[in-house]
């Protein structure tokens, strides 16, 4: 009896054991390199790995800066988690909204500083980085990262815009080049664009198509306030007659005059560098990419509406440390390196970004290197960011405001009547802003 039951069980055991062996074989496959005498690449006990959620546009400067950082700090390894703009904002929202520990350092868009602070995403940096830090950045940069008199992020770069143009296309149409120091009006830009459009070429394109960062320069030029003083009402502001007028101009570029291609933000740079767009209004940090593409280009100042205000976009990326990180000190070290230390210089030099550091700004204004084109673009940007820049609206609900207003801009691009698109957006925004009422009261 016993033998049969033994037989029975061994009959069952055999396939089980085979399966187990196979599985074990698979599992050991991972550690195979250890067998050939090479030590496994497991990090040393005192090495920390921090995750850095960053915007993919900065891949090149960040990779170089992080390499330098890791050389200086052998105990810290940085995992660079890159994503395009929309996905980055969303990833941060999902991960930090769930109090996830797998983000240590992150990119913080200036208008989101308040929003993130209200939600408790950002660890105050006062104790974590150099006490003198705030002296080394411009006062406006420090202002934008201060919440409740605490430093909640560190400014990495600022930005401004210039109007790039393709010299070859201007020559082909017999149009003289715009003067580098003479600001065109939007009306003049439109007239030029009409002349340049044709034969698979569009006269003009924004870089950040349908994005508030860039389009607010239109409403700012008409003196529009997009949101109420307390930051909680958009109705009557974002859909005011002047706002409608400003964004009708935007829609007309695509629909009435058809001088701008209906493409996405991500495609715009390629359209300019491949000669499909003649004038390209874009941030200063596009210069290295445009220069490297080999096209013959020039620049002029950001346009404005005739007889109205001169207003240029500005915006900055800041770096923050997550409140939920378990490696705050290592993360702060990285943030400090990228915003104050050698990393700041690398980002400035490789990325062509406008620095918020006083020392680097002074260099731009005094170093003769920045007198010659195309490096002179940085000097223009520095000047504009001091003299004509208008910040984006201040509201704790900036995320809600921006995502809905961007949708409205895209609808206007696609031909929706501006009044209708903006009315629809403000009603949704105001509904979403209600929840910040008690926050703002505090």
């Amino acid at each position: 009896m016993k033998t049969t039951s033994m037989n029975k069980s061994s009959r069952w055991l055999a396939p089980l054991m085979i399966t187990a062996t196979v599985l074990a074989g698979c599992a050991s496959g991972n550690s195979a390199p250890a067998a050939n005498g090479q030590p496994e690449a497991t990090p040393a006990a005192d090495t920390q790995e921090i995750t850095f959620a960053a915007y993919s546009n900065y891949e090149k400067p960040l990779t170089e800066a992080i390499k330098a950082f890791e050389e200086q700090n052998p105990g810290i390894k940085v995992k660079l988690d890159l994503a395009p703009f929309d996905q980055l904002v969303e990833t941060i929202e999902i991960k930090l909204g769930a109090k996830s520990k797998d983000v240590d350092a992150l990119f913080v868009d200036s208008p989101l500083v308040v929003n993130y602070s209200v939600k408790g995403y950002l660890a105050p940096l006062d104790e974590l980085i150099d006490k003198e830090a705030t002296q080394k950045w411009t006062p406006s940069a420090v202002d934008s990262v201060t919440y409740n008199s605490q430093l909640v992020a560190a400014p990495m770069n600022s930005s401004s815009q210039v109007l790039y143009y393709n010299k070859e296309l201007f020559e082909k149409n017999g149009i003289p080049f715009p003067d580098e120091n003479q600001r065109l009006t939007w009306e003049e830009v439109l007239e030029l664009a009409k002349k340049l459009t044709g034969d698979h070429v569009y006269g003009f394109s924004f870089e950040q198509i349908s994005k508030a960062y860039q389009l607010l320069a239109l409403s700012d030029s008409l003196g529009v306030k997009m949101i109420s003083e307390d930051g909680l009402t958009a109705t009557g502001y974002s859909n005011s007659p002047e706002a409608v007028q400003a964004f009708r101009f935007y829609g007309d570029l695509f629909n009435k005059h058809q001088v701008s291609p209906k493409i996405k933000k991500e495609e715009s740079l390629d359209y300019f560098t491949s000669g499909k767009v003649a004038m390209y209004l874009a941030t200063n940090q596009n210069m290295p990419k445009i220069r490297d593409s080999g096209i013959d280009f020039g620049v002029t100042l950001h346009p404005y509406f005739a007889d109205k205000q001169i207003a240029t976009p500005t915006g900055a990326w800041n770096l923050g440390v997550s409140q939920f990180s378990e490696k705050k000190e290592a993360a702060a070290k990285l943030v400090e390196f990228l915003t104050l230390g050698e990393g700041a210089r690398i980002i400035f030099e490789v990325g062509g970004t406008l620095p918020p550091q006083v020392e680097l700004l002074n260099a731009i204004n005094t170093d003769p290197k920045y007198e010659a084109f195309p490096d002179s673009i940085l000097r223009i940007a520095a000047k504009e960011s001091l003299e004509t820049a208008v910040s984006r609206p201040m509201t704790p609900g900036y995320l809600e405001w921006e995502s809905n207003i961007n949708k409205a801009f895209d609808d206007i691009k696609n031909g929706t009547e501006p009044q209708k698109a903006l009315d629809q957006a403000v009603s949704i925004i105001d509904n979403q802003l209600k929840k910040y009422k008690d926050v703002a009261a505090k």
């Binding site: 969303e90 408790g120 209906k262 995502s403």
Partner: protein, 288 residues
């Protein structure tokens, strides 16, 4: 005695699927219903019970009603369309014509492509600027179309892409059902003088009800919950014309930090789906 003996192994076999069902279906549903009765405070992150408040707010919100309309419109069109196309495709795959084996492999290609890849491909092809579809239209002397750029065409374009991708898959199940229809029955009926159409109505259709029910119910639930094409291609626009409830729920949770609203939308969506599926069961069982 026999039965009792069977119970142990039976439970053992049923345990994994039951555990999966509970863990991945019933628990999240229950959790969603509970969440929809709470609201999360912004500052402290504390949850507070608000009863049906989330639902009341939803019912007063025009965005919700618009989104509901879009969801219903989307499903009223896409579900019958996909089922009919899948059925026709299955009939075609079941015919004995030359090289049908080739076609059987080719028709499955869209199914094997992931949704995001398919969306990106179609986005490039349907681009209003130099997209290949518009180039073809121009070559044929037809006007260019805006596709995703127009509120009149965006939902239709998404329906087309989702069907292009989905029909081949559902057709497989219907093909299996078709092949179960006994050839002898078809032969006998044709000897009795039944034409193809009458065979289809009186023999094939009743015999296929089981696989048809499965496909109808699966298609419906899949499409009620579908939102990745809208998320990738249109973000709900233009003019909210593709803002289905599932996308609105996603945005509520991850953009507006409003988990209560998001859960309430999901619960309503669940009710809608259940209602639709119950009606389908009734319809497909009635004449049986």
């Amino acid at each position: 005695m026999e039965r009792k003996k069977m119970l142990g192994p039976l439970l053992l076999f049923l345990l994994p699927p039951l555990a999966g069902l509970f863990l991945f279906k019933l628990y999240p549903i229950g959790n969603g219903i509970v969440q929809s009765l709470y609201t999360t405070s912004f500052l402290s992150g504390d949850k507070s019970f608000v009863g049906l408040q989330n639902y009341m707010t939803l019912f007063q919100d025009p965005v919700f009603w618009d989104s509901l309309k879009v969801t219903l419109l989307f499903n009223v069109i896409i579900n019958p369309l996909q089922i009919i196309l899948a059925f026709v495709l299955a009939l075609l795959l079941n015919t004995r014509i030359r090289r049908i084996a080739w076609f059987r492999s080719i028709h499955f290609v869209p199914v094997a492509i992931s949704v995001p890849t398919a969306c990106m491909l179609w986005n490039i092809m349907l681009s209003p600027e130099q997209g290949v579809v518009n180039s073809i239209l121009t070559a044929l002397g037809l006007p260019e179309q805006p596709f995703f750029g127009s509120s009149a065409q965006a939902l239709g374009s998404i329906i087309a892409i989702a069907s292009w991708k989905g029909v081949g898959y559902w057709a497989l199940f219907l093909l299996a059902g078709l092949q179960e229809v006994p050839a002898s029955l078809m032969e006998a009926s044709s000897l009795d003088g039944a034409g193809r159409w009458r065979q289809l109505i009186h023999i094939v259709y009743p015999l296929m009800k089981r696989s048809l029910t499965f496909v109808v119910v699966s298609v419906t639930t899949a499409n009620f919950l579908l939102f990745s094409p809208m998320y990738i291609l249109t973000k709900g626009g233009p003019e909210n014309s593709t803002n289905v409830l599932m996308l609105e729920s996603f945005n509520s949770a991850f953009l507006y930090s409003d988990l209560g609203r998001s859960s309430a939308i999901v619960v309503i969506l669940l009710m809608l789906t259940l209602l639709a599926v119950a009606a389908q069961f009734k319809w497909l069982k009635a004449s049986h």
